[in-house]
């Protein structure tokens, strides 16, 4: 359902868009401030470094405002959320919105915790540019099943680009929808790869202000890297290593050759 006019970005242009975004990441090295769960921090930092971005991760209240204001984008991931992360998020989101800095919401496990789902809904009205989540999380947040029309509806209502990951990833704003059939079954066997993908969405937003293009580029980059990694991996341990190497080596030709978008 691509719309016409400026926002038009048909699926077949996505590999080129993603390659351009990746080139900008490497050229500009944006810093992404990540409020993320303690399980995900190392892989998230290494994912950002592998594509040319720079991570920072403090949640200290006296520091985080300054860190965010000089960053290129912000990630708020709700895994292992606690009072410290909650206080940090309030300061960080206010700082980001003050400067119109893009920020991304990753509502980890909202399907497993009612208080967290309520909190995520409160954050969703604070104007994140994009959201990355899985099927169960989308259902818990929106109350509806995660298919294309529901994503577009949610996105239109909230003004947030929705990046839904699963066997096939879907990226929707109110007008555009793309399906990305890259990735590999080993990906959910590595903890925090979804969290790292959300950080990559934030990094892409730092260099590409069309949030649909940034989100779709990030998920395509991650999906293609995952496929390339799977060719060398023998299990989830080596897969986690190989995907960082693949992200680091990824180029325009690989993106074009391997992208499965529709």
């Amino acid at each position: 359902m691509p719309a016409e006019g400026e926002m038009h970005a048909p699926a077949n242009e996505l590999p080129i868009i993603a390659a351009d975004v990746l080139a900008r990441l490497r050229a500009q090295s944006p810093r992404v401030h990540c409020i993320t769960n303690s399980v995900a921090q190392t892989l998230t930092a290494n994912t950002l470094l592998a594509v040319g971005a720079v991570p920072s991760m403090t949640i200290a209240p006296e520091e985080i405002g300054g860190f965010v204001k000089r960053a290129g984008a912000l990630l708020v991931n709700l895994g292992t959320f606690d009072a410290g992360r909650r206080a940090a998020s309030a300061i960080a989101i206010e700082a980001a919105n003050e400067l119109n800095l893009p920020w991304v919401l990753d509502p980890v496990f909202v399907d497993r915790s009612e208080p967290r789902a309520i909190y995520a809904k409160q954050l969703a009205v604070l104007a994140p540019k994009a959201m990355r989540l899985n099927h169960a999380e989308f259902s818990a947040l929106s109350g509806v099943a995660p298919e294309g029309g529901a994503l577009a509806g949610y996105s239109r209502e909230h003004g947030i680009v929705v990046g839904l990951t699963g066997a096939t990833d879907l990226v929707a704003d109110g007008e555009r929808l793309v399906a990305i059939a890259n990735g590999h079954p080993l990906m959910p066997k590595v903890t925090a790869l979804g969290c790292a993908a959300s950080a990559l969405v934030a990094a892409c937003l730092a260099v590409e202000r069309d949030a649909w293009c940034a989100s779709a580029a990030a998920l395509l980059i991650m999906g293609v890297a995952g496929e390339l990694a799977a060719k060398r991996a023998r299990g989830p341990g080596s897969f986690a290593v190989e995907i960082l190497d693949a992200l680091y080596a990824l180029d325009r030709d690989m993106l074009v050759a391997h992208a499965k978008v529709s």
Copy 2:
């Protein structure tokens, strides 16, 4: 010293028991809620995923009760313990015990901290099903040397299965004792592999309610995976990768072929 009757489980049946437990992990994908130290979180999560289980790790007081009540088992690991983890453990253990959900105690470094040893003793009377610890930790907790009879005595007195890891692992309840001579000298060169083994004990308890069988199965699975990993590893860095691949690939034939139990 195997006892007679229902509890009888001679060492030579252990590989088959472990293979059955592993098959159930993969079929049922139990979620294991882990209160664990910040150094161990990523490896612990990846270890659980590699065998088919699902990790969750929040320690936020408003969430952890709900997370535990819908989990299959709970791990309480005392590494990097602080006020937040202490408060979380109180809520989590009460939630687990309310539902008779099995939980595992890992009294990390109690030999190095008197306050932690005191705290571990307070937890040991709250009915954990099993405990995984090393020689120095057992001595600090029990006041006696870690040999088979002492393990059985401690286990009988406290009603906790004791899984003692070292060059040879010992698993004891009041009646049964098995020695597992698998594993590899590189294992203690990877941080938090012992912590990950404790999480694996919890995962096995989620699908096998005989705590001695679950504990022995977990340590045999880890030990055989460690031996297989060592065949491919060139040092502790590659060993940490290979053991996740080995856990993921492990099957009944490998367990039977490599088990060294007596």
Copy 3:
């Protein structure tokens, strides 16, 4: 600018000094207590284990004093600093200084946070034996550009050995200066390798009380391991694995053959 007399340690002796320090690490297995950021903890622990040292990382106020007093050295790394780490550092530094236990300051990202820079300056007068930092951090801390004379001046004024890492590492006290041209461009692509290097400085201080020798040995060990790792790595994911294997395998001959010191 090597001085004469006891403190004399020309660059060409450094590979042998480093080999001796490494041999002592493996023989004595000193424990290094690390107050370090949550992103760096796992790699830091694994780096210490790979060279034969033992990590501990609690920051709980009731425990950390005891942990530090029985350790061989202390690291205070300011990444993801928060109130808990600040309180822990106060206790830990006092405990270390009481016993004249060497401690190392790693002022992570002081160039990005004014409050953190102020705090780092307060710690710098509490007699750390050594400091490991990058160019931007040195400039933020000292107010001057990071060249050899400035390092010597800062070191003389504060009584702290300065280990400056970058394309070429410099290690200075008030009288001695060495340049280490080992290392590899993939090193800054792995999160927290600099933090791990600071922990290695602390480990070396536990077995070598000449802080300049300990710091230079640590950075040479890390640099040579990085070069050896790069020969096998295909990107930052495999590099992070290979450097642990290289640290584990490193010996006198490799240090002598690969050292580029002047």
